[in-house]
Amino acid sequence: MNSATLKDDHQERRKKLSNLLLSKKKPMDRAFFGIVLGAAGYTLLLLALIVYAIGDGSIEIFSYEGLDFLTGTDWNAVYGREAFGALPYLIGTLVTAAIAMVIGVPVSIGIAVFLSEIAPPRVSTPLSFVIELLAAVPSIVYGLWALFVFRFWIVDLIERPLYNAFGDWIPLFGKTPFGLDVFTAGIVLSIMIIPIISSISRELLKAVPDTQREAAYSLGATRWETLRIAVFPYVKSGLFGAAFLGLGRAVGETILVTMVIGNAVGINAIPTSLFSQSQTLASVIANEFNEAASSLHLSALIGLGVVLLMLTMAINIGGVLLISRMVKVSPGVKE
């Protein structure tokens, strides 16, 4: 094969290819853009749909009671004497969430510190995987375990002793504990939100450059001092954000809470002690939705959904903003 024929072959091929590679029309590109934009728009549409549906469903109760719905403490579905108030459940939600945070946040940060600062990689890698497993457990299984196992641990190890020791003179421990109360709900919620807060915290801690730590160590600082001086200042607002996200999760959790919170109704649902029965916004909806006595009752339940939605959105938006601010404000040292 001399080079002339090779070149001819080559020209042949090129001509053949040119004819095949016809100019593609733009429509496919445009169609594809339409599809992806549509998909992105669908998510916006969903949000709008949610807001509309909840709003529309709760019109009845809000026109019946107005803003008194938010401050009322009755919960009566009996015909002729209807009265619905979200306040007890709002309080129940906040109390359980508060308990969850008080326990969950420090523990999560402790875990994050352990995994990122103390443990060697061959320990921290499998260990962090194990902590992640906590997040993979469905909440119904948490509920099952809390109802049949954990509750008794709490009653025997914590509630009874506290009640016996302080029940008479500290109202916080005043009621006879049976394990189905805000305290148990709060504790199990705290276990549930640990993976969320600790994993975000861990990422934040990892993002602090080692040079900061080295600088502190080289001055003779201990581990704790290094954390305090060189690490925490950077991650403070991010940790807040992580806590917010955990809070959002705690507030929105339904089935777990329903199973262990004791299911009190109306004014009785306002917890007066750690060992009071109560309910949360979510648990009332779960318990009563399918047996709502009237359309007003149903609307009241949806109204609880509105309150819950707004509460959650406020918390989550706050958390996202805090974390994103954290990521933008990175340490001012050029590595």
Binding site: S3, R13, R14, L17, S18, L20, L22, S23, K24
Partner: protein, 288 residues
């Protein structure tokens, strides 16, 4: 400027004649007149911006057919910007723009009617860092341009893949492993794979943006050999920051500085007898 605008369908026919190019523009002619090949790609008043910052100022030059042309110059002189304008990749950077004319076989690539995507099927590119497609085998990498542009004829693809790998001096090394992942090759082999991938499109011009700068000397020289051999089938433009490479490999050299074309001519002349003082200073290593 006369308008030789043809629609996208006609762009493919290689028989369009060059129409008059305005004589009012100073065109750099190579100073040693030997067998000057006809111009394959004529650049007229090409300007390019990144946002509001101008990166190329009024470039005029003719890239000669079946030759190897090198763009040299210190960092930031615009040689990469220029080469990326030649296949309209420059404007894909967000905020980047270019205007002027780049006339390929009588057709202005920068004309509004021309679809930039089709340009790239005639003018191929090889990048500084080898970038084979990570999820594809060697065979699929080379065939990617063809298959994804709708070519289905398996025999044709097989032939082209083999020919391209031979053209990239890679065939012997991989002929029994065509199904292995492209990423499994060494750096030099990956770059040759990328060259094969570009060659598979049967381009008329191959643009190479510092193709050996991330490679070791042995791999680099393999590629330089390759480039030499490509001359007979296509036109090569190569950007290099390595002057010795330009001297070894190219027929014509263009020296650029701060976005302007300072001097363009026969490589021998540029390196042995530069006309501009700036060129002389760069060549002798006084800056850049």
């Amino acid at each position: 400027m006369s308008r030789t605008l043809k629609g996208p369908e006609e762009e493919l026919s290689p028989t369009l004649q060059v129409s008059k190019i305005s004589e009012s523009v100073e065109i750099e002619r190579p100073t040693e007149v030997k067998d000057i090949p006809p111009p394959k790609l004529s650049i007229r008043n090409l300007e390019a911006w990144f946002g509001t910052k101008r990166a190329l100022k009024g470039i005029n030059l003719d890239v000669r057919e079946n030759s190897i042309t090198a763009f040299i110059g210190p960092s930031g002189c615009g040689k990469t910007t220029l080469i990326r304008c030649l296949n309209r990749m420059h404007e894909m950077t967000p905020g980047a723009s270019a205007k002027g004319q780049a006339i390929l076989d009588g057709m202005d690539m920068y004309d509004a009617k021309v679809d930039p995507v089709t340009i790239k099927r005639r003018i191929g590119m090889v990048f500084q860092k080898p970038n084979p497609f990570p999820t594809m085998s060697i065979y699929d990498n080379v065939a990617a341009g063809l298959k994804l542009n709708g070519i289905k004829d398996k025999k044709l693809i097989d032939d082209i893949v083999r020919e391209s790998l031979e053209g990239a001096a890679l065939w012997e090394e991989v002929k029994n492993e065509l199904n292995k992942p492209g990423m499994g090759l060494s750096g030099g082999q990956q770059q040759r794979l990328c060259i094969a991938r570009a060659l598979a499109m049967q381009p008329e011009i191959l643009l190479m943006d510092e193709p050996t700068s991330s490679l070791d000397p042995i791999a680099s020289s393999k590629i330089e050999e390759l480039v030499h051999g490509m001359k007979k089938d296509l036109t090569v433009v190569i950007v290099t920051h390595n002057m010795q490479q330009a001297a070894r490999v190219s027929d014509f050299t263009a020296f650029m500085y701060l976005g302007e074309l300072i001097e363009y001519g026969d490589t021998k002349q540029i390196f042995e007898n530069p006309r501009m003082e700036l060129t002389e200073r760069y060549i002798s290593g006084k800056f850049g």
